[in-house]
Amino acid sequence: MLDNLDPRERRSEDTPKTRETSAARPLSDREVPLAGDTRTATLNEWLDGEVPESEARAHGNTRDVEFWLRIEKEVEVRREMKTPVHVYRQIMEALPENAPAALPWYKKQVTVNPMVAMAATAGAVAVGMAIGAALTKGR
């Protein structure tokens, strides 16, 4: 006879046979996420534009959906805001008269393409060989 390794089968008869709640079981055992998590996840998916509003409401989020629709109405006003007209003039007046300073040579970006890389390598090898030759002659 094979050993029964399922711990649930070894319960004594007097142990009440209650079903473990989803929350009590390890996460890996849950086939369906907790109800609260699904609700929040669906709400966020709706707010991210990934599922329709009806789906968010279907998961018991009606109150939350109404809340976010109200917030959205306020946020929409902010989304349409423009820079006040006087700000443009203020910035232009505050700009220094001189053109922006050119970048000093040590801050300039060096673009290395294959040709430049090959030339630099060849140069380094030539210099190395010359130094090597000089040292050998010196002995």
């Binding site: 929040t40 709706w46 991210d48 534009g49 917030i71 423009k82 006040p84 700000v87 443009y88 232009m92």
Partner: protein, 198 residues
């Protein structure tokens, strides 16, 4: 992927519409400014000031501070214009975003509201307008209580209507991390506001 109408509207991938064929590209405008055409810089200001202003306003909650940050950022950008190597819009965004974070670090905030707001109301009746004023103040207060990184993520997603990909590009982080920040910001805002508004 199909996008549903939801609480959030996402814009295109860039801060503002990219320079169309008829428009001079940013790097060409920058070249003119560096050659001494100071007025050409105005083109860059007009092109990018609105989304940057919205970001500064969302982060600070004060129109005056947002204007100051915007002005200081554009002046700094002008002085260091020769250092732009990549996208100007991403570069100027980082200057403004850092300006906002510095301000948040240095200022002990009291109540701030959009007192000087003269934007048109989207609400039909005076009652709705009154409700909106209250909601606006409450939302400002709630936003002010969020950690700067959560506030930044919420403002970029909801107020500026950016996609997660664009946010990741601008902030140099991952889409997953930003989704987490936005979700946490929503959760926190809902806890702070739902007693009154839910």
């Amino acid at each position: 992927m199909k996008r549903y109408t939801s609480g959030v509207k996402t814009t295109s991938v860039m801060i503002a519409p990219r320079a169309a064929d008829s428009q001079e590209a940013d790097h060409e405008v920058i070249g003119r400014v560096l050659a001494g055409d100071r007025n050409a810089f105005g083109m860059l200001i007009r092109r990018y000031s609105d989304p940057l202003y919205r970001h500064a306003l969302g982060m600070t909650g004060s129109p005056d501070v947002a204007e100051d940050i915007l002005q200081a950022s554009f002046i700094k950008a002008y002085q260091h214009l020769a250092e732009v190597h990549g996208r100007f819009d991403a570069w100027i965004f980082r200057i403004v975003a850092n300006g906002c974070k510095d301000w948040l670090k240095n200022i002990r905030r009291t109540h701030l509201s959009y007192e000087e707001d003269d934007q048109p109301s989207a609400f039909a009746t005076p009652e709705e307008d009154l409700d909106r004023t209250e909601l606006r103040s409450d939302l400002d207060r709630a936003l002010a209580q969020l950690a700067p990184s959560l506030r930044e993520a919420f403002v970029m997603k909801h107020v500026e209507g950016r996609s997660y990909e664009e946010m990741a590009d601008l902030l140099g982080t991952t889409v997953g991390a930003l989704k987490m920040r936005v979700h946490r910001a929503r959760e926190a805002l809902q806890v702070l506001l739902e007693e009154k508004y839910a």
